[in-house]
């Protein structure tokens, strides 16, 4: 799918991210833990998980209320610490304040990327995670960014900002 890269440079500023930075960040990721995963098929976190799953990512739902059940065919865990395998990225669907300890936990467990949803930003936690060698994206939706960078967002009439004279894969 995407060319694998070992390590993306940290974002220069967390107000804007270059397309290259976001592409290389997603390219290093196969397994995504989603903290705040809803079992309700009509909630935003479910939309994001379903989309990312369709794009070939393995999603790992994390939600203490749903622990032991499955969402989109994947077992749900009560916390990041209970996931019995490594994850590449931790996607945070919680408030900015709650994002702090979740990001710290992601670093302890060896994730490569912490991604905070659109509307979620915690600069202190970001600094700690980056100091620990993680790549951090804040206040962005991975579904919007993936679909923006790879053409599908344009189908809804959105301004992707992507201009290319290269033929995309059908």
């Amino acid at each position: 799918m995407l060319a694998a890269m070992t390590r993306a440079a940290p974002a220069m500023s967390h107000d804007t991210y270059t397309d290259e930075f976001l592409k290389s960040t997603l390219a290093r990721v196969r397994t995504i833990a989603v903290v705040g995963a809803s079992a309700n098929w009509n909630r935003p976190s479910f939309f994001v998980m379903k989309y990312l799953q369709a794009k070939g990512f393995r999603i790992v739902p994390v939600n203490p209320k749903e622990a032991g059940s499955t969402i989109l065919g994947e077992p749900v865990y009560a916390s990041l610490a209970e996931i019995p395998h490594p994850v590449d990225m931790v996607e945070i669907f919680r408030s900015s304040a709650e994002a702090g300890p979740i990001a710290d936990e992601a670093a302890r467990l060896g994730a490569k990327v912490v991604w905070m949803q659109i509307g979620v930003r915690n600069d202190e936690a970001c600094k700690r995670a980056e100091d620990a060698g993680l790549t951090v994206v804040m206040n962005r939706c991975p579904k919007i960014e993936y679909s923006r960078l790879y053409g599908e967002l344009s189908w809804g009439g959105f301004n992707s900002g992507v201009i290319s004279s290269k033929r995309r894969k059908a």
């Binding site: 804007t16 991210y17 270059t18 397309d19 290259e20 930075f21 098929w41 009509n42 909630r43 935003p44 479910f46 939309f47 379903k50 989309y51 369709a54 659109i118 509307g119 939706c141 919007i144 679909s147 923006r148 053409g151 599908e152 967002l153 344009s154 189908w155 809804g156 009439g157 959105f158 301004n159 992707s160 900002g161 992507v162 201009i163 290319s164 004279s165 290269k166 033929r167 995309r168 894969k169 059908a170």
Partner: protein
């Protein structure tokens, strides 16, 4: 949204239009189809539930039309756009997520006559009330705002009075009132003015005019900045902030964040009202947009020359064009659209109504018709045509009094444009006494 901002001309040619994934076609393919097949039942469900982007039916979205939408959103600096069958449809669609029976839109009293008509009469059938304010007096918008106001609506450059509105204070009034400012940017085009840079929340266009550019296709578009904070005024905008029963309780501004207004425009606005743009018209409009910058540059150069020529002409009583130094709108033009004052101007012929009619009937190069934004030069007498539904008071308020002739300057050779006006003015002068030769 993206990191790198390409230049205006580059976006005019490329935004939204990578080579076709299926065939490699470089020009945008015309997807002249009503419907699109689903991969399987789950794919269909995901599309109907708005869980993933994709095409279902061309009333909602179409791949050719979505190129047009992205192209115009990119030119305006917006987050997304919804194309419509006409500029009038765009106005309805822009207000549809905001309004409900008993609510109000505060609009400029000097809008295009057709827009005044739509708002004053047809909106009443939806229970929407249009309240008018004076575009020359931003404070009048503040006075007109009530707790029922859900939007402020103005034109950046108004036809036919040549009014360049002072957008910045009106955007502040809208922000303080917690309602979106919608700007009709048809006459200016994003090449001359980008209302989002001055605080507007949405932009509408009749793409029929300069965007299409050659007078061949009717269309419209609603562009969203993605910046309006719906949840700040949660109770005011239930279409955006309350669960939508037909989408199983999904909330547009929550699920789609800054994309919500444009998703609503397609998934509810176009779905239920139905004024989609056809793929063919979208394609023709895209061909026009490719040359928008160089056309507008020449349109404005030619219009400036015509305005200066007429201002010195013995048979001309007055000229209204923001590009003339004595225009009351010269200052706003320099601030909001310094690349040019547009290509529409009005003037009054000495000899009044009859001389005016004679000019309109004597031109050979100018076309006498009710449109603007054509590559060809156009002429009309607004009081007897485009604005004839207005009352005498409204006619004067809209800058369309009985002596007014409106010109829309094309991109023909400037000497031919000036010569045609001179010969028509000479004929009009010959009918009056005493005859006066053109300068």
């Amino acid at each position: 949204m993206a990191d790198k901002q390409f230049g205006f001309e580059t976006r005019s040619l490329h935004a939204g239009a990578a080579p076709d994934p299926a065939t490699g076609a470089r020009s945008v393919p015309i997807y002249q189809t009503t419907s699109f097949v689903f991969d399987d039942v789950d794919h269909a469900a995901s599309l109907f539930n708005l869980q993933r982007p994709g095409f279902i039916y061309s009333r909602l979205t179409n791949p050719t039309v979505s190129v047009l939408e992205e192209r115009i959103a990119a030119l305006e600096g917006g987050i997304g756009a919804t194309a419509t069958s006409s500029g009038h449809a765009a106005q309805i669609l822009a207000l549809f997520p905001l309004m409900a029976p008993g609510l109000e839109v505060v609009a400029s009293s000097k809008l295009y006559g057709g827009s005044i008509n739509q708002m004053k009469h047809s909106y009443k059938k939806f229970g929407w009330n249009a309240v008018f304010a004076d575009p020359d007096d931003p404070a009048s918008f503040k006075k007109a705002v009530t707790d029922k106001t859900r939007a402020i609506f103005v034109e950046s450059l108004a036809n036919p009075g040549g009014i360049v509105i002072d957008l910045e204070p009106i955007a502040r009034i809208a922000k303080d009132a917690g309602v979106p400012l919608i700007v009709d940017n048809t006459l200016a085009t994003p090449w001359l003015c980008r209302p989002f840079e001055w605080g507007a929340d949405m932009v509408v266009h009749s793409t029929t005019k300069y965007l299409s550019g050659n007078g061949s296709s009717v269309g419209g578009v609603v562009v969203d900045s993605g910046k309006f904070d719906w949840f700040k005024a949660k109770a005011k905008y239930p279409s955006m902030t309350a669960p939508a029963p037909e989408y199983h309780g999904l909330t547009f501004a929550e699920t789609f964040g800054p994309l919500g207004y444009t998703v609503y425009g397609h998934a509810v606005g176009l779905r239920d009202l139905g004024p989609c743009q056809s793929p063919m018209n979208a394609w023709i409009t895209l061909q026009g947009i490719e040359t928008l910058a160089i056309r507008m540059e020449r349109h404005c150069q030619n219009a400036q020359r015509v305005a200066e020529h007429l201002a010195k002409h013995k048979q001309v009583a007055w000229v209204s064009y923001a590009g003339l130094k004595d225009s009351p709108y010269f200052k706003n033009y320099r601030k909001y659209m310094p690349r040019g004052a547009g290509a529409v101007l009005t003037f009054g012929v000495k000899g009044g109504y009859e001389a005016g009619v004679k000019v309109v009937e004597s031109v050979e190069l100018f076309s006498h018709l009710a449109n603007i934004g054509d590559t060809r030069s156009l002429i009309i007498h607004p009081a007897s045509t485009t604005h004839r539904q207005l009352t005498p008071e409204q006619l004067v308020a809209a800058g369309a009094g009985p002596d007014v002739i409106r010109l829309c300057i094309g991109i023909e050779t400037i000497d031919d444009i000036l010569a045609d006006l001179d010969q028509a003015l000479a004929k009009a002068g010959a009918g009056a006494a005493p005859a006066k030769a053109a300068e």
